[in-house]
Symmetry: C2
Subunit: 189 residues, 2 copies
DNA sequence: GTCTATAGTGGGATAGAC
DNA sequence: GTCTATCCCACTATAGAC
């Protein structure tokens, strides 16, 4: 019954994960192979398996570091801001665009929830929930932000499109809805 | 100067592209290999290269069929609808969820624009532009829809999350903004 | 239009010695 | 903790015969 869901990494494993994240961020997802990673660490690929069970565990550990960083960035954005949603959107966007390959790894497949520290996913989601106080609104805002980022990273917007304007448009629209639904629920108290 | 940008496919090539799309849709992007495709057609992989120059051309042709279908679906959704944006969102979502692997292939990388029929991308975008009459709004709506779909396909929403509600929230919010900006620009006429 | 043969590259992973 | 040796897999693509 009492099951250790997430095994802590050894110090050496943490070094390997850090190198994996660097490799991913600098050279993209295709470059994140056990061979390339070993090369970066100046060891042989098979040695990696003494520290991490397989590639999935490596990716999960990289994702975990990304979620920690994202959570920290969003928490910081929320401190003493007059317009929390605007600040959150800017911080989320900045994080994604500074770490495009990491962002994709974190978000374009199911989270390896059973290999993540307990509560981490919730911690990353919490700032947005605090800002809009409504799960449904929060999901809509997240989807908008995620869509803007993915379309920008995939170069699907036309050359020269004013993406700042599109962000303002979406955030403004959803902010207004969030304010409205906040008022609605106050009326029920 | 007069350059044929897109070479028309031979009938046999079209059969191959149709088979490729079926393979993609039924078994996912990883299954779309020249070998698997040949196997499905009961020929050998090298034979494919007599009909299509390489895998990139095959993918571009599959993407083109997807864009044609999407454009048709969106055009149909716009006919005689009291709430065009609501209808468009529903049609876009239905298309994406009925063809998840195709949708990803179409949207998570840069479009191979030089291998697509002229005007096709614009044709797929036109219905939304007609519905909101404002490029910036249109981009925000597209991003919202794309984000909802990608997060749903990646199973990033919690089990049991009310996604219909999130769609309504986003579409309502952006509809209101679009109406507002339509009024603003009418004032300037 | 299809074939066989094959080149060239790359991937994840294991066994067992040191 | 690292190594060598190795397995087995898969992929795109080309050459040249039929």
């Amino acid at each position: 019954m009492t099951e250790l869901v997430v095994k802590p990494l050894t110090p050496r494993a943490r070094e390997i994960v850090a190198a994996a994240r660097e490799l991913l961020e600098h050279e993209g997802a295709d470059a994140l192979t056990m061979r390339r990673l070993a090369e970066r660490l100046s060891i042989r690929a098979p040695s990696l398996y003494k520290h991490l069970p397989d590639k999935a565990a490596l990716e999960a550990a990289v994702i975990a570091t990304g979620l920690e960083d994202l959570a920290a960035v969003l928490e910081a954005a929320l401190i003493a801001e007059a317009e929390p949603l605007v600040a959150l959107a800017a911080a989320y966007r900045a994080f994604a665009l500074s770490h495009p390959h990491l962002y994709r790894l974190m978000n374009d497949r199911p989270l390896p929830r059973d290999q993540l520290p307990a509560g981490l996913e919730e911690r990353a989601a919490a700032p947005l929930l605090r800002a809009v106080e409504n799960q449904t609104c929060a999901r809509a805002v997240w989807a908008f932000a995620h869509g803007m980022i993915m379309l920008e990273l995939a170069q699907r917007f036309p050359q020269g499109a004013d993406l700042d304007a599109a962000w303002r448009e979406g955030v403004t629209a959803l902010q207004a809805r969030a304010d409205y639904s906040r008022q609605q629920s106050k009326g029920l108290d």
